[in-house]
Symmetry: C2
Subunit: 329 residues, 2 copies
């Protein structure tokens, strides 16, 4: 794998500097680049903080801003941020209404965010995201992994925090949205962590990994590459089954690229997935398509479905102004 | 190369169907998927039409909507659309104020758009985009190629058309913005056109192609992979020199990914490029970073600089609502 880098050790720092310069109207970097924060904190609003290893951009820093996160703590590539990063971020953006941590379910993230939550003087709570239906327990996880659905939870919680919901309300809403959200992915190639210098996993030229994790963790099975329709059928059906969607249910459909798959193919997968939803009597009322929760340059995609009611849909539609998601303002 | 597809021959059609479903609030497909059009035409506004081969998504269909294009005509992957597509698109979105075609400088596109322009009954004009400073004449081009700067021209012309500029004014503005815009790219890997089934070009594991075109056309030279700083220096300096930028000039900086390069690296390139601009006394006042004018899954990026005055900056900042660019609404 070839990278546009100067030095593996400084790549994240240089990237964060570029990000902060490009989005100076929205974000500010914390000292020692420990976190990316919303420049303007809204008094009386619960502070939403997420974070995790880099390599999944635009997640999470790309979702800092009005109507979404107040801060994001980036670890090195595929490495958890430290409790200190989270503590310092919380102190920087807390405005007295408490802090909600949004954490993808990986053992390292869970441990470090929990440690920060325990050490924090401010009132706080943790929402755990575990939307990946592919497997129970994985390389870095006990239980289900947190993947692309994270952005839906961050978007809805961000909108609810913006309108003034309390910490208790937000914690309940976050758990509810997480329960209403399910994802499953497929990889056609591996990614290569620059510091490792070799592909995370080996995969044949005619194979795919069904149920892959966003760090290249094994999924359900390694099989010959299937057609887009067959892949969409398997991923979407698994998600529909997990959510036990009823006929007539309204959903948001997120087709998320892992980084190396062209947008032309992602929209082709949208077309395939919406046919599976339609056959199940499920109605996609909103779509989001693009590479939002990535795995460096891995080829493949995931399908995420979030079952919504009118209240959740209004939260999704509410104005947002971040580097990676922007509408209504 | 592995793709998420059912059949190479139907891939574009299926992708367009997915795109139209996902963005039904903005666009409608023409008959036989000949074009993607803005659903609501604004009476009295000059119609802006672009197009070109697929494989560069989100260009052009992703830029159809309020404040940008009225229609986009997609050809097959890396293949020009036909004059009939452009004619039918023009007839569908013309509201009596004339039609402006925005055409990237490739021989096939130029010939077919010119043919459509000649056959069209409505008043019309053509803006040719040739922002790529890497080489004069190329595999598919006489003169300079049109690359990522196209989106800047489409954005500014879209804003000007929206406020009611005449066809004559828009043609002059388009030519002026094109003249103020320059780009140059680098590829680390080739792309593979699915119908061809093999990489467009061969490149060693430690090599890069400096000045590559967006179809993988040769650039200035094939050399060992350099550091991000060295690459940014070469690309940005070439662009500054071409535009003959003066000290104090304000610019928009677009760091565009070709499809296979992670966002983390693109922001690292933003950081590298802005230092080159700063050393030249040039001030980046707006940034756009992401994979907007792609070459399927090719790894690499281009750097585009557009020298702006206050009027052009206002056009850039004006509200836009398309699938791929959205702000202010």
């Amino acid at each position: 794998m070839k990278n546009l880098m100067n030095d593996v050790d400084t790549a994240l720092a240089e990237s964060l500097d570029g990000f902060a310069a490009a989005h100076a109207d929205i974000v500010t970097l914390g000292d020692d680049r420990e976190f990316v924060r919303r420049s303007a904190v809204k008094p009386g609003k619960v502070a939403l903080i997420s974070g995790g290893g880099a390599g999944h951009e635009p997640l999470h820093a790309g979702f800092v801003g009005h109507g979404m996160l107040d801060a994001a703590c980036p670890g090195q590539i595929f490495t958890s941020p430290t409790p200190n990063q989270m503590l310092n971020a919380a102190q920087a953006v807390d405005s007295g209404a408490g802090v909600l941590f949004i954490v993808k379910n990986y053992s390292g993230d869970m441990m470090n965010f929990q440690m920060a939550a325990d050490m924090l003087d401010q009132e706080n709570a943790v929402v755990i995201v575990n939307d990946d239906v592919a497997v129970e327990d994985s390389t870095y996880t006990t239980g289900r992994r947190g993947v692309a659905g994270t952005l839906i939870i961050e978007k809805m919680l961000g909108a609810a925090a913006e309108r003034g919901d309390s910490l208790t309300q937000l914690k309940a809403l976050g758990d509810a949205v997480n329960k209403a959200t399910a994802s499953m992915g497929v990889a056609l190639t591996s990614c290569t962590v620059p510091a490792a210098g070799k592909p995370t996993f080996q995969i044949g030229v005619h194979e795919m990994e069904v149920g892959v994790g966003i760090h290249g963790e094994p999924g359900r099975r390694r099989v010959p590459l299937a057609s887009a329709d067959a892949i969409a059928e398997e991923l979407t059906s698994a998600v529909i089954k997990d959510l036990a969607l009823a006929q007539g249910q309204q959903v948001i459909l997120l087709v998320n690229g892992f980084g190396g798959t062209p947008l032309l193919e992602l929209y082709l997968m949208v077309n395939a997935a919406r046919k599976v939803l339609a056959r199940a009597g499920v109605k996609a009322v909103r779509y989001l398509t693009g590479s939002y929760v990535t795995s460096l340059e891995m080829a493949g995609c995931s399908i995420t479905v979030c079952a919504v009611d009118a209240g959740m849909l209004a939260l999704w539609d509410a104005p947002v102004h971040t580097a990676a998601l922007r509408w209504g303002m």
